[in-house]
Symmetry: C2
Subunit: 248 residues, 2 copies
């Protein structure tokens, strides 16, 4: 059992960010497995305020190349997320194929800091992160969504800490929901499940990120992310299933 803390400042309206919660649990799981995450899935059971928490980790299998483990993040008697992941290292070299290039973005300097929501408190976690978006992708904040459920931009930590495998779990859920750029109402989008594939250790520098929702219907939506490091290597892919936006 690992004691941990959901720190203040990683929340949206008082509820800790889903990628931040995954990173807390993923760190405990990686420590137990003795290697970083390759693919980690979290199912979100309850929203979590800031405060002390515990992570229980159980190994399913520890092989030579891969180790599989379950995780459970709890606050007191309340289970917040349940996880299942496989841990290991990438093995450099071997066959390579790339179907798509890194997302094309304006430079970090020419990208836009997302303005705070016009209603309600400013999400505190944006103090911790340096997120900059494609300039037209911030229009949803002022009633001018692009009409396409896509948000592209740059991710870095405010303190310029390097991004490791655990931080990629956080990066995979740190942007505003891509659905905000569709013309659907902007509202709370509760994550049901988030899976992140870690595909490399980023070299230093801000990460290029692209998030899209492809299919929204019958109360559910997907959101898919691709994250490249500054050398152009794909370092993470994510996909989540969420409940379609509901008025807060």
């Amino acid at each position: 059992m690992f004691d941990a803390e959901i720190k203040p400042g990683w929340d949206i309206n008082g509820n800790a960010n889903g990628g931040y919660l995954m990173a807390i649990a993923g760190r405990a799981m990686a420590e137990t497995a003795g290697r970083p995450p390759l693919t980690l899935t979290a199912h979100y059971l309850k929203p979590a305020p800031a405060g002390p928490c515990e992570v229980e980790v159980n190994m399913v299998r520890a092989g030579r190349r891969l180790a599989t483990a379950t995780g459970s993040l709890r606050m007191g008697d309340t289970e917040i997320i349940r996880l299942l992941g496989t841990f290991g290292e990438q093995t450099p070299g071997g066959p390579a194929y790339t179907r798509e290039e890194p997302v094309d973005l304006p430079s970090y300097e020419d990208s836009a800091v997302p303005p705070p929501p016009t209603e309600g408190p400013k999400p505190a976690m944006f103090e911790r992160l340096r997120i900059r978006l494609r300039p037209e992708d911030v229009g949803f904040r002022t009633g001018h969504p692009t009409g396409e459920a896509r948000i592209d931009g740059w991710f870095a930590f405010a303190d310029e800490e390097p991004v490791d495998a655990i931080a990629l779990l956080l990066a995979a859920d740190a942007f505003p929901p891509a659905v905000f750029n569709s013309e659907l109402p902007v509202a709370w989008v509760p994550t049901v499940e988030l899976t992140v594939h870690v595909r490399g250790v980023p070299v230093p520098g801000p990460l290029r990120c692209s998030f899209v929702s492809r299919f929204i219907h019958d109360g559910l939506l997907d959101e898919e992310g691709a994250i490249w490091d500054s050398s152009g290597t794909l370092v993470a892919q994510s996909r989540q299933l969420a409940l379609a936006p509901r008025p807060i």
Copy 2:
């Protein structure tokens, strides 16, 4: 604990198909949860021959709309797959957005039955399924891959059974690996993890399917699937992480 059977005829070279294993476990989990899967993740621990198996299911949470459960499929003392899923129903209506249309395919009649591999036994599971591919997408079998890691086609059962939520889990891993149409060597592609989002109950008729691998490097590859029913509704999305092809 559920007693089940990995039947002969669902294997590739003696190892049961990953989607078939997920469907066996997913059925037991759905029965316990009292509702069909919405998002299910399986981590593959050991290959499985045909034979009797057991599925252990543990409920994590059962709420009004959603229920979360873990699953473990074992043969004797050997754990084959570990799973984590959330179960529930789609809720018709509400906001809708579609970023992409159903994959464009030749008619079922004009599509191609994939020829058996030129070496080794014919995969037995193709007796149970009616899979037809875009004609150019079968070229990998005769040394003429398209060069693009993508395979599109139709899925139905040979006995014309309708495809329900459980069968969608099977459909998500039933095609030859998309990587076979890249110019990388055709070889065994062991799945590490497969996640399927069930987004609807298909209306009758063959399903339109598209599978692509976008990023292959450092010993790992992704494969993503999208499956539409004959009315044009997206009924499932899948993504898996697999070990890059290795000579058999």
